[in-house]
Amino acid sequence: MDIERFTDIIARFLAVSGKILPDDIVKKLAELKAAEHMPLAKSVYDSMSRNQDLAASLDRPSCQDTGVVNFFVSAGENFPGLGKIAGALREAVVRATAEAPLRHNTVAIFDEKNDGTNVGERAPFVHWDIVPGSDKVKVETYMAGGGCSLPGRAITLMPSAGYEGIVQYVFDTMVDWGINACPPLLIGIGIAGSVENASILSKRALLRPLGSHNPNPRGAEMEGLLEDGLNRLGIGPQGLSGSSSVMGVHIESAARHPSTISVGINVGCWAHRRGAIVLDKDLSYEILSHKGVRL
């Protein structure tokens, strides 16, 4: 596997993903804009679409906060050079930082220094999955901005609180913190037996394409109920009131302990800079999130 080429592809893909939103998000924002009737909210949607047009034509990051980069790698067990991927992803962030450019965002814990590279201790954070029988690798990229990371939180509830407790927690988070996170938001919820698992799942939930559903019928039903309910809060774009509040609600789950029900929440802002690219072993690639984009 040509690791130099792999690095180059990821660096260029990262740069693009900071400038152009994924297809599903573009489509959803257009739908929400069309359905909006409050004048103030409409004018905000107008600014958003003008901004995305300018970002594409001037080739610039659409939001100045290009976040701290997270990678989710689904590695086929037969993909060659698995051991080199983490290093290549790190190098790709350094290159994209200079070339895109990305804002200098990584601050070292304790030393409180920002060396301007966007890499550092466990940054970029890389999450791994092994895919049996496959010789491809899927790399999902996510730029976690400050505004949309702020509402993130997790809690372990007692079973007596039930799923009703999750509903309350989601609505509290949305009203208290969601307003500042540049709505309309994508809401990711993880349900598990302990907070770290719930939290990871809540971030994974944000990577699911819009329109996908939790595989469990009750899970899918709960996603729908929350989406409808949060929209009826009427938070609107930028929290200025409007006909909707969210682009979607995604729930991911893992079996829990009988005594606990943990819930994690992560939100994605309207500028949801998520990318998904699949590379096969000879490094030809397919971009899943941004069809028609060339690197």
Binding site: S47, T66, N114, G229
Partner: protein
């Protein structure tokens, strides 16, 4: 016609403006966020820019240095204003700044500052950073570069800068506070309604 404010802005310019109005501005807009506020208020350091009658922007931009030594604004959008709430009242009093631009609302102290010292808090749509950058005509100078790119004071000359949605007016009305009361009231009803349908533990 859109209302356009030009710096230097006087108290009387703000009198007829109300929350929910959309305005634009021409003139000088200076980026000023967490550490700059802290330096002035907690460390009593003098700001290197006289903000009287001007506007500040809670923002950390991406800026490019050009071969001729000038700077180009690449991408600049608002950051969460609430982080500056602790300092803002004193900041407005000491500087005489007239417009604070950011995102999300601000709370009681800023409300009081806007009422007492006649100022506005406005929202520039978050995430619209290229749009904002194209409304910057020129970066006139930069101060406190030791703070790094996002935190430096970038002194921008802007033209038609907006849309700026007024969230706190010079009479102390607060759009986000009003909205939040409505959201909270709806929340209780909605949570009760949905909870009925997710009683999966039986």
């Amino acid at each position: 016609m859109n209302k356009v404010l030009r710096t230097p802005i006087s108290d009387s310019d703000l009198e007829d403006i109300r929350i929910g109005d959309v305005i634009y501005m021409d003139g000088i807009l200076v980026t000023c966020r967490d550490v700059a506020h802290r330096r002035l208020i907690e460390f009593h350091r003098e700001l290197p820019v006289d903000l009287k009658g001007l506007a500040i922007f809670h923002a950390g931009p991406i800026v490019k240095k050009l071969p001729d030594g000038k700077y180009q604004m690449v991408s600049i959008g608002p950051t969460t204003s609430m982080r500056m709430e602790r300092f803002e009242k004193e900041f407005v009093r000491q500087t005489g700044v007239k417009i604070i631009v950011g995102k999300g609302g601000m709370a009681e102290e800023t409300e009081e500052a806007c009422r007492t010292y006649k100022a506005l808090h406005c929202v520039f749509p978050g995430g619209c950073a290229v749009l904002a950058a194209t409304e910057v005509e020129e970066i006139e100078r930069v101060e406190w570069m030791d703070l790094g790119m996002p935190e430096s004071l970038w002194v921008n000359r802007v033209k038609g800068f907006g849309p700026l949605i007024v969230s706190i007016d010079a009479h102390g009305n607060n759009l986000f506070k009003k909205n939040k009361a409505v959201f909270n009231e709806r929340k209780d009803r909605l949570v009760a309604e949905i909870s009925e349908k997710v009683r999966f533990i039986q």
